[in-house]
C-alpha cells in the first residue's frame, strides 16, 4: 500500500508512505486513488509529508487522479509539500490545478 488513509472531519487524508514518489509506485498510487474515489470519497487530501522527491511519473498519476476526481464531482487537494516539491508544483503550474495546504489538518479545517 502506498497510501495510509484516515478520516478527519469530512475529509479523507491519504498519506503517501514512501520517501521517493517515483515510477515504481506511481501505478499503485493511481490505482489506490481510483479505488478511494470509487468508494465515494468527495474530498481527498493527498499528504506529502515525509516525501522528499517526486518524479514526473508520479505527478502524472496525481494529475490523472485529479481528472478522474473531477469527472466524479470530487476534489483532490495536496498538503505537506516540502520546499523542493512545492517549488516544482509552482514551476510547472500545478498550483493552479491543485489547492495546496501547509498540512493535512489545515486542508481538512479549511474545507470545513
Amino acid at each position: 500500500m502506498i497510501l495510509l488513509t484516515n478520516i478527519y472531519k469530512d475529509a479523507l487524508i491519504a498519506g503517501i508512505q514512501v520517501k521517493e514518489a517515483n515510477l515504481t509506485v506511481s501505478d499503485a498510487f493511481k490505482d489506490e486513488m481510483t479505488a478511494l474515489l470509487d468508494k465515494g470519497n468527495k474530498y481527498i487530501i493527498v499528504n506529502f509529508e515525509g516525501v522528499i522527491y517526486v518524479d514526473s511519473s508520479f505527478l502524472g498519476a496525481l494529475v490523472s487522479s485529479l481528472k478522474y476526481a473531477l469527472a466524479n464531482q470530487a476534489e483532490i487537494v495536496v498538503a505537506g509539500l516540502n520546499k523542493d516539491v512545492a517549488g516544482l508544483f509552482q514551476l510547472i503550474r500545478l498550483d493552479k490545478a491543485f489547492k495546496i495546504y501547509p498540512s493535512a489538518t489545515e486542508a481538512a479545517e479549511r474545507k470545513s
Binding site: 501505478d27 499503485a28 490523472s64 503550474r93
Partner: protein, 378 residues
C-alpha cells in the same frame, strides 16, 4: 549495465539475518533486513528490492502467507522471491515453488552456493532484460520511430542544438522536434510525457503527431500564434480517450528569422532560461499554461522575445534539474542556472561535455533533454 543487487532478507532468526547479510554484502549486495513479514512489508513501502529471500518458519505470518500477500498486491507481485528455509519436506517445498517462487533453498546449503544461486538468477534476469530491450530498439528503428531529431535544422542567423539522455537508456517520454516551415519560420518543440520507459515513449508519438498537425494547420490558416496552436493541441488531447489519461508538458517556440524574434508558449513546462548578452544576465522566462489535456482551457499565454547577437535560450525538461545528494533525490531549478553560468562565454558543445551534463548520464534519475538556441549573425 551493471546488475542491480538490492536484496530484502526476511528471517525471524537474527543470527541467520546477520550471517546472510554479511555474506551477501561481501558480494556487493545492498541488504535490507526484516525479522518478520510485517517488518518486510514496511521496508517494501519505502524501497523496492531486486529480490526477496525469505524464511518459511516465522511466527505470526509465515513465509508462505507472506508470499501470498505479496502475490495479491500488483506492486510487489513481480519482485523475484526465493525461499531460504530449513524445512525440507518435499510437499512443502513444492508448495513453496508453486507460489511463483524462483527457488527454494535449504538452509544447510553452503553459503557460497546460496550466493551463487542469487547472483546467477539476477544475471539471467538482466541478460533477458537487455535482450528484450535490444529487440524492441531494433523494432523501433525499423519503424523509423524517433522521438528526438536525427539532424539539426539550419536556421538563418541562429544556432540550434540539443542534448538528450533517456532514463536508464530506455526510450522515454521526452520528445524533441524542429519543424521548419520555410526560410523564415521554424518551430521548436520540447515535450515530456509524464512517465518513463516504453509506456511514455509510445505516447510521445501520439503527442508529436498532434503537435505537428496543429502547427501545420495553424500555419496553413495564416495563424502564427503559438498560444492558439497550444489551445488546439490541448482541446484534442483533452477529448481524445487514447491520450487524455496521459499528461504531457510542452514548450513551443516559433523562431522568426526576419524579426530575429522568438514567440513562446508553454504547457506545464519549466521556465526557459534566457541569457542576455548585453547585461550578461540570466533570466527565467515562464509561461502560464497548464499541462496538455489537464483542463479544457489550459490558460495559455504567449510571449515574444527579441534576440540580439549572442543571446541564448535554454529549454529543458525536469530531468535536467533533478539530482541526488547524500539526503536523497531533489529537484532544484537553480542547480541548472549555476551549472550553466561558467559556460556562458563558451560554445554549447563545451557545455555538453561539462561535468554537470556528464553527471546526468551517470545518475539516470529521469529522461533529460536540453535545447540550446543562440542568435548568431544577421
Amino acid at each position: 549495465m551493471a546488475v542491480s543487487k538490492k536484496i530484502l532478507l526476511v528471517d525471524d532468526n537474527p543470527l541467520v539475518l546477520e550471517m546472510m547479510g554479511r555474506a551477501l554484502s561481501k558480494e556487493g549486495f545492498y541488504c535490507m533486513k526484516a525479522n518478520s513479514a510485517d517488518e518486510a512489508m514496511a521496508i517494501l513501502g519505502m524501497e523496492r528490492p531486486d529480490i526477496i529471500l525469505s524464511d518459511y518458519h516465522m511466527p505470526d505470518v509465515d513465509g508462505f502467507a507472506f508470499r501470498q500477500n505479496l502475490i495479491a498486491m500488483p506492486v510487489y507481485k513481480d519482485i523475484p522471491f526465493m525461499f531460504l528455509t530449513s524445512e525440507g519436506d518435499n510437499e512443502l517445498m513444492l508448495k513453496g515453488i508453486n507460489l511463483e517462487a524462483v527457488d527454494y533453498i535449504l538452509k544447510d546449503t553452503p553459503l557460497p552456493v546460496v550466493v551463487s544461486k542469487i547472483n546467477n538468477f539476477l544475471s539471467t534476469v538482466r541478460e533477458q532484460h537487455e535482450r528484450t530491450l535490444k529487440e524492441l530498439s531494433v523494432a523501433a528503428m525499423a519503424l523509423n520511430l524517433h522521438s528526438v531529431p536525427q539532424r539539426l535544422p539550419v536556421i538563418k542567423g541562429f544556432e540550434v542544438d540539443f542534448w538528450h539522455k533517456s532514463f536508464q537508456n530506455y526510450p522515454g517520454g521526452d520528445f524533441i522536434d524542429f519543424i521548419k516551415i520555410d526560410e523564415r519560420y521554424t518551430f521548436i518543440v520540447l515535450g515530456d510525457v509524464m512517465g518513463k520507459k516504453w509506456g511514455a515513449w509510445y505516447f510521445s508519438f501520439g503527442f508529436l503527431s498532434y503537435i505537428r498537425a496543429a502547427v501545420r494547420i495553424c500555419i496553413a490558416e495564416g495563424n502564427f500564434s503559438t498560444k492558439s496552436i497550444l489551445q488546439k493541441i490541448n482541446a484534442v488531447v483533452y477529448h481524445d480517450p487514447v491520450v487524455n489519461d496521459v499528461l504531457s508538458s510542452l514548450s513551443l517556440l516559433m523562431v522568426d528569422t526576419q524579426g530575429a524574434s522568438i514567440t513562446y508558449s508553454g504547457a506545464g513546462d519549466l521556465p526557459l532560461l534566457y541569457y542576455n548578452t548585453v547585461d550578461k544576465s540570466l533570466k527565467q522566462i515562464g509561461s502560464s499554461g497548464m499541462l496538455l489535456g489537464l483542463m479544457p482551457d489550459g490558460d495559455f499565454d504567449e510571449q515574444v522575445l527579441k534576440l540580439r547577437i549572442g543571446d541564448r535560450l535554454f529549454i529543458f525538461t525536469d530531468g535536467i534539474i533533478d539530482f541526488e545528494d547524500t539526503n536523497g533525490k531533489k529537484t532544484d531549478y537553480n542547480t541548472f542556472t549555476e551549472a550553466v553560468k561558467p559556460y556562458l562565454g563558451q560554445s554549447f558543445a563545451a557545455f555538453k561535455k561539462s561535468t554537470f551534463l556528464q553527471g546526468k548520464t551517470v545518475a539516470h534519475i529521469d529522461d533529460c533533454s536540453l535545447i540550446h538556441l543562440q542568435k548568431t549573425d544577421q
